[in-house]
Symmetry: C2
Subunit: 489 residues, 2 copies
Amino acid sequence: MRDIYIYNTLSRKKELFEPVSKGMAGIYVCGPTVYGDAHLGHARPAITYDVLVRLLREEGYKVRYVRNITDVGHLENDADSGEDKIEKKARLEQLEPMEIAQYYTIRYHRAMDKLNTVPPSIEPRASGHIIEQISLVQKILDSGYAYISNGSVYFDVRKYNTDHKYGVLSGRVIDDMISNTRTLDGQDDKHFPLDFALWKKASPEHIMRWPSPWSDGFPGWHLECSAMSEKYLGREFDIHGGGMDLMFPHHECELAQNTASRGCGGVKYWMHNNMITINGQKMGKSYGNFITLEELFTGNHKLLAQAYSPMTIRFFILQAHYRSTLDFSNEALAAAEKGLKRLMQACRDVMKLTADEGAPSIAEIAENREKIFSALCDDLNTPVAIAHLYELVRLVNQIKDKTSKINAEDLGLLRDSFKDIVMDILGLEDEQAESENAGMFDKVIEMVLEVRRQAKKNKDYATSDKIRDRLSEAGITIKDTKEGTEWSI
Amino acid sequence: MRDIYIYNTLSRKKELFEPVSKGMAGIYVCGPTVYGDAHLGHARPAITYDVLVRLLREEGYKVRYVRNITDVGHLENDADSGEDKIEKKARLEQLEPMEIAQYYTIRYHRAMDKLNTVPPSIEPRASGHIIEQISLVQKILDSGYAYISNGSVYFDVRKYNTDHKYGVLSGRVIDDMISNTRTLDGQDDKHFPLDFALWKKASPEHIMRWPSPWSDGFPGWHLECSAMSEKYLGREFDIHGGGMDLMFPHHECELAQNTASRGCGGVKYWMHNNMITINGQKMGKSYGNFITLEELFTGNHKLLAQAYSPMTIRFFILQAHYRSTLDFSNEALAAAEKGLKRLMQACRDVMKLTADEGAPSIAEIAENREKIFSALCDDLNTPVAIAHLYELVRLVNQIKDKTSKINAEDLGLLRDSFKDIVMDILGLEDEQAESENAGMFDKVIEMVLEVRRQAKKNKDYATSDKIRDRLSEAGITIKDTKEGTEWSI
């Protein structure tokens, strides 16, 4: 096992990864709220933490990877008011909320499969853990950091802030926020604007509701992650990942809930991926500028110049460091497509190379392999890893062009490196295998038509007619035009 | 909407389907216990109720199709003792039970996708509905048909049987069973052997446990279906499906729970598919004679003579009526494969037929179409429907062979019939589309090699060499041998 360094949002520096239990890694990642199709902004955390899981497994860790499905409690304005996002969608489409959740969960899984992300070890649903969430609310009430108001329960941020520091994760100076915020005028159940809901009393028309000691209602959005991460990963676990937009209020509240109920923050390493932007603006469902993954895969969106394959999207995301913003453009995606093509060609070529017995050892294979792993272990620095990977691509091309030779041992290491890094850790699949066969077919047909043209020129009509008839039997129609011969299946 | 008749296990006769709400159909089907791979015995209910859902939708019903995932509470011996099946698997593999459930849920979904079954509208998990189950236990306690014993809660079968009839669904004469059964000797928490668990107190090492008014424990196996069907389909809903092996005790207990808590059986039509047998014996995980779907798809099992495609399995199952037993054999599957091939060929051929303007109308198209729908609406009589479908296949072949002619209107109806029946209702997909393209490629290459042979015979070496070189460029190697020319990619 190599040393792995992770940038911890909590300490704002890279730290050596030292898991709670030797050889094990417990990871919790915030998954989707299932009320719409996954977009490019969902692909980034999915792929980032997928590479983390793959790297840890490659390094020999036994990984338990938990990613939740939010199917209740996420209100429209991400604060504590507005309609539940899923209930609203269900109401508009005249369906039961769980039909909406099921529909978009299936579509999310399909999109994630296309992106070749490994499924989580456990995928808990918020609605499936109401008991655990009610028990957590009770613990926070018992610890004195929450209050009941009209059947709802709220987290008491001011009280918590006097004993602990609210804002440690996001770096917000909450004291200032508190002193700058006027108390509420009594229209709200909250005592104070920064307080957040742990349990909400359901209005009469609300469908998703469960009995609790305080009211028939539903859990607050932040609660599920505290409850389910503790259930499946323990009181203190290793890594919590998510998008930077979740840092505040979601993760800040989660950390406060953990501290109030368990007496510790619960998470050793908080990781946050940066946003994908379009013309510098965050991409998100609530911004209306999002492109769904399906639209990207089909090219069916006004902002798209073409379709981009799942692996192009994956490579595009990996070409940037996860903590940098990544701006969407057709140019950048086309460049990723081109770079990926070169890389995958090398993956195929390396398998076809032959070893030369007398060839001297090539030190740069092991060197680059080590640089790549170092970069990956250095807070998942995929762009640096990919740069070194291209050194290996260059080497493959030299050997293919016979400007270099390679011995059997080196060739073995080179092949292993492509497999370990490209396939196993970066998770890139060869999408061209199929389209390559299609290309082969095209070439054969073009050749056949050329032979036919030549036969006609030689007045060998027996041959030219035979070719036309046999193609037709096989299901291929040809048509002679002024510009040449067209063919179709 | 045609009249649909369903054999109701409860009345032991076919009944006209009259839904609770006009135009809507609520269906609940017992899904898998996720502790092992899906086998042929799981494919049958999945495909049977899939065709039911497809037929109802084709007839214009708005269908809510609920199929559960059992991830807790199903004990080893299907009665109330032994270890939880999922916990046992988790213990053997040193995993958390939810990791086992997730692993096999994903594999189940993949197998179901291959069989082209439509996903359920809602797929509730037993572990995600503990509150609903606890509330149901409380209702049954309140109604007097359950008792608490050492922290567990049991259904009081004798008490229930005095007021209602226990055994109405399975047709067992419970009075005889009761009088023939000696009371327990006190080693069991149950008062009486036929009583069944509603809530089980968890032993200290048991992982899956939740707080309840009676103990930290887990729900009895039968409880989830009563609780979740009521939650998502209402107090009384239309159709409950499942395998015949679930009729007793599972569905019998479910019906008793419903009656004890809701005051009615809850289900209008109980449907049960018969079993798949191997040499006359039921196929099941607990019998050790099961063949998983993956093994069938790959042919990787000692009982299998070859691999069988998902659509062959689907067609094999549809060739028998769902209430008949279906005996597994390689011969029967090979016959299904052949029959399917003929059917799919007709599906492709019908699209290529051309209409003849003057052709007289062919009455048997509409007649057979109607016979097929009548058979399907007659308690899903798929074998009769398929027999009539072959009449349409015969017609397609006659027109293809030019022994019959068809006018445009009839051709439209014929095409629609294949689409509506084969694709939409029977849910058969064309698996040959891909392999047909492969066949096309083979034909072209054979023709190219023949042209090359002819060129060589004519001493036109420019052409024969050009063909060899261009094939090689395209990635196809040819080798001249005594027997002829071999080619490979």
